[in-house]
């Protein structure tokens, strides 16, 4: 999610005690997997938006068991590629 300043391989700090609001970068659980999205509110509808244009926004109400697991509050970026690739 580079438009949120998050690069591949970054370390995220997630605060589960925050209530998610539109504009937050959130960790959601969709189809049994963690996914990183931006929570958005358009025309009174909540969406989960991906960074990539290939992935259309997900309307929350269409999913029965989508769960907002936590709100990402910081991203720690590795300064060299060695650290990123471990």
């Amino acid at each position: 999610m580079s438009n949120a300043g998050i690069q591949d391989g970054d370390l995220l700090v997630v605060d589960r005690s925050l209530n998610p609001h539109p504009g937050h970068i959130v960790i959601a659980v969709l189809d049994g997997a963690f996914t990183l999205k931006r929570l958005a509110l358009k025309n009174e509808t909540l969406y989960l938006e991906a960074d990539h244009p290939n992935y259309p926004p997900i309307e929350l109400w269409q999913y029965e068991d989508v769960q907002i697991w936590g709100v990402a509050v910081h991203s720690i970026h590795h300064l060299n590629s060695i650290a990123t690739s471990k």
Partner: protein, 424 residues
């Protein structure tokens, strides 16, 4: 103002920990196995719904579990311990006084508000814990620990209470106490339960209302305490500081039988290394050490043996304790037995704050301080770089008899290299 007692505990704690950090497991039946993948010690509600019962040996139900599509996890105590720590520190913030009772249970003392109703507080706490760490908890409230425990049982088993039940605010307390079988009353031993049944005392309500002198005559102050607690009088107050440990035990079953003295030495040594570490963490020294081993209870002939030695000077120095255990292991070993379990018991523990010096002490005080610094350094290295970074060769480098934990999840919350990955 009136004080109330609450018992707060995690529902299916181990299974919930596994599901919480691995979303692919949520909504699926999950069971957690005991050490060495022995038997089932936790079930998710989904697994419970399939009729899988607690305590069943894994090898007996293995195929059935597979057929039912149940996810099987080895126990991951690094994960459960960390989740427990998070749970307890949150509870400490939201309860006036807290006694951590076990890995997933705590007693709390709270003041009742003016309208007497603690349920809003309990519901809020439950929601908070769920949001912050993702674990479901149940809260039972009463006037005493025994009552709180009963209320917790009701909160958990009757779903309309949604995990919260207050025995003191309910109008039909007798009705609820009648639903509790005598064996489910907290603190009642098997012996007392049997005696009650024989006298026709079958429920918590009957125990509460029976003549106290009969209980006193048979069980003394213990029986009276239990009855008073059931009546709502506090006889078992909150223990804020855990009492210092009387003894420390490290024991494990092996993944395969051990038959040679050499291997038994290695096993016992690795337990001694672990137990000494524990002693140093507890700031205690051992005055005596026991080593024990046994075969499987099903094997014929059955063999078990133990040996104890007193230490002239109490110690928590791994080298000293290893030396002491060496002779003990020789004493308990007998060839031609398939040993499947061994352990060490550190006894006569005393605090490191005071040490009686002895003429027999082989170390002078300078030596002693150097040894202590060495232990501290080793502990620090192991803490920082992972267990076993630095150890004693006696514990063996390759441990073929290590515990079985074939299906263990990773230490997701305690090791930076194991943090879960999220895709965007």
């Amino acid at each position: 103002m009136t004080q109330a007692m609450a018992l707060i505990d995690g529902n299916n704690f181990y299974a919930a920990c596994e599901q919480n950090l691995n979303p692919s497991l949520s909504g699926r039946p999950v069971v957690v196995l005991s050490n060495n993948d022995g038997c089932i010690v936790a079930r998710s509600p989904e697994a419970r719904g399939l009729g899988i019962s607690m305590g069943q040996p894994y090898f007996k139900v293995r195929h059935e579990l597979k057929r039912l599509g149940v996810v099987v996890c080895s126990s991951n105590y690094a994960l459960y311990g960390d989740m427990s720590h998070r749970l307890m520190s949150l509870l400490e913030k939201h309860c006036e006084q807290l006694e951590v009772y076990s890995i997933d249970e705590a007693f709390a003392q709270i003041h009742r508000p003016h309208d007497w109703d603690l349920r809003p507080w309990a519901r809020q706490l439950r929601a908070l814990i769920h949001q912050n760490i993702g674990l479901p908890i149940a809260i039972g409230i009463g006037s005493s620990k025994v009552q709180a425990k009963l209320a917790n049982h009701i909160a958990k088993t009757i779903s309309i209470h949604a995990g919260v039940f207050d025995l003191d605010i309910t109008k039909n307390q007798d009705f609820w106490l009648k639903t509790i079988e005598i064996e489910n009353v907290w603190g009642i031993g098997r012996q007392m339960a049997r005696w009650c049944r024989m006298k026709g005392i079958n429920t918590a309500q009957q125990l509460r209302d029976m003549p106290s002198n009969e209980l006193h005559a048979k069980f003394g102050v213990r029986g009276i305490r239990l009855q008073n607690e059931l009546r709502g009088k506090i006889c078992l107050p909150l223990k804020m500081m855990p009492p210092p440990k009387q003894q420390t035990c490290v024991s494990r079953s092996f993944s395969r039988p051990v038959t040679s003295l050499k291997e038994l030495h290695q096993v016992v040594s690795s337990h001694v290394i672990r137990a000494s570490e524990k002693l140093r963490k507890q700031k205690q020294r051992a005055g005596a050490i026991t080593v024990f081993t046994r075969t499987s209870p099903f094997s014929k002939p059955f063999y078990k043996q133990s040996a104890t030695t007193q230490l002239n000077i109490p110690s928590n120095d791994t080298s000293v304790l290893l030396k002491a255990s060496l002779g003990l292991t020789k004493q308990i070993f007998q060839p031609y037995h398939l040993l499947i379990k061994a352990g060490v018991l550190m006894q006569k523990l005393q605090s490191t704050d005071h040490l009686q010096s002895s003429l027999l002490d082989p170390y002078n005080s300078e030596d002693r301080q150097r040894r202590e610094r060495l232990m501290k350094t080793i502990d620090k290295l192991n803490e920082h770089y992972g267990n076993g970074t630095m150890s004693w060769a006696a514990g063996a480098l390759k441990q073929g008899w290590e515990m079985r934990h074939e299906r263990m999840s990773s230490a997701m919350t305690t090791q930076t290299t194991r943090i879960p990955i999220v895709h965007s």
